[in-house]
C-alpha cells in the first residue's frame, strides 16, 4: 500500500467500526424493511396478476424489491452529519489544516458510511427474504439467487460502483452544505429525487415506456436500478456492460463536479461560529 492512500484507508476503517455500534436502530430498521418490502411485494403481485405483457417478470420485480430493502442504507439520503456540524460551528475551517485533500477525505468517510451500515442491515434482510421465506412456504414472495454466475459477478461489480457513486453524491452534498451554510436545503431536495429516480419507489422498468430513455440515463439509476436488474437477469450481456459503463461515467462526472465546486467554495470559505 502506498503512503499516499494510507490515511484514507485508515479513515474508512475507523468510521466502519464506529458505525457498527448502532444495533437497536438496526433491529427497528429491519422490521420496517420487512413491512415495507412485504407490502410492495403483495401489491406488485396483485398488479401483475391481471396483466399479460409486462416489461419485467414478477419474480424479477420481487427480487428488485427485496434487494432494495436490503441495500436501502447504501443510498446517499443525507450528507455527513459531522460535516454539517462542522459547518454549523465553524470547525470546517480546521479541515483545511489537515495535510489531506479535503474532497478525498470526505469521499472516504462517505465510502465508510455507505458500506458499514448496509452490510449490517443487508445480511438479515437477505437471509429472511431469501432463505426463511422459502422454509415457511412463501416461495412465491421470496428473493431468488442471482440468475447465473455471470449475473452474480456483474452484480458484485455494480454494487462496488454503487458505493463509489453514492459516496460521490454524498461528497457533493457535503460541499453544497459548506456552500449554503446548512445541510437542510440539500437534504430536503435530495430525498424525493433519490426515492423516485433510483427505483426505490417503483422499479424503474415499470414506469411508462416513454420515460425509459430519461430514466436510464440519469445518475440515480446507478444507485439501485442497475445492479438489481443485473442480479435478476433483466439486464445481461452487452446491456449489462453498458449499464456498468454509465455508472462509471456518472461517478467520474460527479467527482469532477464535486471537486470543482469544492475548489471554488474553499478558496473563499465562509465559516460560522464565534
Amino acid at each position: 500500500m502506498t503512503a499516499a492512500i494510507r490515511p484514507y484507508v485508515a479513515v474508512v476503517r475507523a468510521r466502519f467500526s464506529v458505525l457498527l455500534q448502532y444495533r437497536a436502530a438496526a433491529v427497528a430498521g429491519f422490521l420496517t424493511q420487512c413491512w415495507w418490502g412485504g407490502i410492495k411485494v403483495m401489491v406488485l403481485t396483485a398488479f401483475f396478476a391481471a396483466s399479460s405483457s409486462t416489461p419485467m417478470t414478477l419474480p424479477q420485480a420481487i427480487d428488485y424489491v427485496w434487494l432494495g430493502q436490503a441495500l436501502f442504507t447504501m443510498l446517499p439520503w443525507s450528507g455527513d452529519p459531522d460535516v454539517a456540524r462542522m459547518v454549523r460551528t465553524g470547525d470546517v475551517a480546521y479541515e483545511r489544516l489537515r495535510p489531506l485533500d479535503t474532497y478525498a477525505f470526505w469521499y472516504s468517510r462517505a465510502v465508510a458510511r455507505r458500506t458499514a451500515n448496509p452490510t449490517l442491515r443487508a445480511i438479515p434482510m437477505l437471509l429472511t427474504a431469501g432463505v426463511l421465506f422459502r422454509l415457511i412456504g412463501w416461495s412465491a414472495y421470496a428473493l431468488r439467487a442471482p440468475s447465473g454466475v455471470e449475473a452474480a459477478l456483474l452484480f458484485a461489480a455494480s454494487i462496488a460502483l454503487v458505493i463509489g457513486l453514492s459516496a460521490a453524491v454524498s461528497a457533493l452534498m457535503d460541499t453544497l452544505t459548506v456552500a449554503t451554510l446548512s445541510e437542510r436545503g440539500v437534504t430536503l431536495l435530495i430525498g424525493p429525487l433519490i426515492i423516485v429516480f433510483s427505483g426505490s419507489l417503483v422499479p424503474l422498468p415499470l414506469f411508462p415506456d416513454w420515460s425509459q430513455p430519461i430514466l436510464r440515463n440519469q445518475p440515480f439509476a446507478g444507485l439501485m436500478d442497475t445492479p438489481f436488474r443485473i442480479y435478476s437477469g433483466h439486464l445481461a450481456g452487452r446491456n449489462a456492460l453498458l449499464a456498468l459503463a454509465r455508472q462509471v461515467v456518472w461517478i467520474v462526472a460527479l467527482v469532477m463536479i464535486g471537486r470543482a465546486l469544492m475548489a471554488r467554495v474553499m478558496t473563499r470559505l465562509q465559516t460560522q461560529g464565534g
Binding site: 436502530a25 396483466s51 409486462t54 430525498g191 423516485v196
Partner: protein, 262 residues
C-alpha cells in the same frame, strides 16, 4: 379555565413561536410536501402501467391514499409531545413537572406543540383526495362527505393511539422507539392500497389488531359504491376504540413511572 380553552392557549402559543421563523417554516413544509407526494407518484406510475388493481382504478386508490394521508398528517401535527416524549420528558426527568401540575398529562402533552409544518403532508393528501373525487364516477351526496370526515376523525384517533403507545414504551425503554414508525408511516403505506391485495393474515392484522383498514378501506368502499353494506361506514369507530385502549395503557404507564431524577 376549562380544558378546551387551555388547549386553545397552548396551540396559540405554539403557532406564535413557529411563526418566528417563516423561512424555516416554508422550507420544511415544502420539503414535507415534496417527500410525501413521491408515494402518490408511485401509485400513479403503477396504474399508468397496469391500469387496474383487483378492480380498483387509479382514482379509487387516490381517494384511499388521500383519506389515510390527511388523517395521519393531522394526527402527526397534534401529537408532537408524545412523539418526543422519551427524548424530551423521560430522559430529562421533565415529566415530573407535568405530573405536579393540576391538569392531565395527555392534555399537557397534546398542547406541547402543534406542528404547523405538517401542512405539507396534509396538502399532498388533499391533492390526492381531489384527484380521487374528480376521477370517480359516483355521485357525491352530503352523506359521502360525512362518512369520509368520520373516517378521517377515526384515522386521527388511530394514529394518535399508535403515537401514544410509542410514548408509553418510553416509560420502560428509550431504545428503538423507531419501531412505532412501522405502524405510523408503514400504516399509511399499507392503508393506501385496497385490503384485497394483501394476504389473509395481514388483512386480519389491519382490521382487528391495528385497524387501519377500518379507517380507510371500508368507508371509502361505501362511498365509492363498491359495497352496499352501510354498517361499514361506521368501521372508523374501531379507530376510536384503539385510542381508548392506548389511553388506558398510557394511564398504566404513568402509574409505573419512576423519575430519572436528574
Amino acid at each position: 379555565m376549562n380544558a378546551l380553552r387551555l388547549y386553545g392557549r397552548y396551540i396559540a402559543t405554539s403557532i406564535r413561536s413557529q411563526r418566528q421563523y417563516p423561512a424555516s417554516f416554508i422550507a420544511t413544509s415544502v420539503g414535507a410536501f415534496a417527500s410525501t407526494i413521491t408515494d402518490f407518484i408511485g401509485i400513479w406510475a403503477l396504474f399508468a402501467r397496469f391500469r387496474r388493481l383487483e378492480g380498483w382504478q387509479f382514482g379509487d386508490v387516490a381517494l384511499l391514499y388521500g383519506v389515510v394521508s390527511v388523517a395521519f398528517a393531522l394526527a402527526d401535527s397534534l401529537t408532537r409531545g408524545f412523539d418526543l416524549f422519551g427524548e424530551q420528558f423521560v430522559k430529562t426527568g421533565d415529566f415530573d413537572r407535568l405530573l405536579v401540575r393540576p391538569r392531565s398529562t395527555v392534555l399537557q402533552l397534546l398542547g406541547y406543540e402543534l406542528r404547523v409544518t405538517r401542512i405539507g403532508r396534509l396538502a399532498q393528501g388533499l391533492v390526492a383526495w381531489g384527484v380521487g373525487v374528480s376521477l370517480s364516477s359516483v355521485a357525491w351526496p352530503l352523506t359521502s362527505w360525512i362518512i369520509l370526515a368520520f373516517a378521517v376523525a377515526g384515522g386521527i384517533a388511530l394514529f394518535s393511539g399508535i403515537l401514544i403507545l410509542q410514548a408509553t414504551l418510553a416509560f420502560w425503554t428509550v431504545e428503538s422507539l423507531e419501531i412505532a414508525n412501522t405502524l405510523t408511516y408503514g400504516g399509511v403505506e399499507a392503508g393506501q392500497y385496497p385490503l384485497d391485495v394483501y394476504a389473509r393474515w395481514f388483512r386480519d392484522f389491519l382490521v382487528y389488531v391495528v385497524p387501519i383498514g377500518c379507517i380507510s378501506y371500508f368507508p371509502v368502499s361505501v362511498v365509492l359504491g363498491r359495497v352496499s353494506y352501510t354498517p361499514y361506514a361506521f368501521a372508523p369507530l374501531f379507530g376510536f376504540a384503539f385510542l381508548g385502549v392506548a389511553l388506558w395503557v398510557w394511564g398504566f404507564g404513568v402509574r409505573h413511572y419512576t423519575s430519572t431524577g436528574s
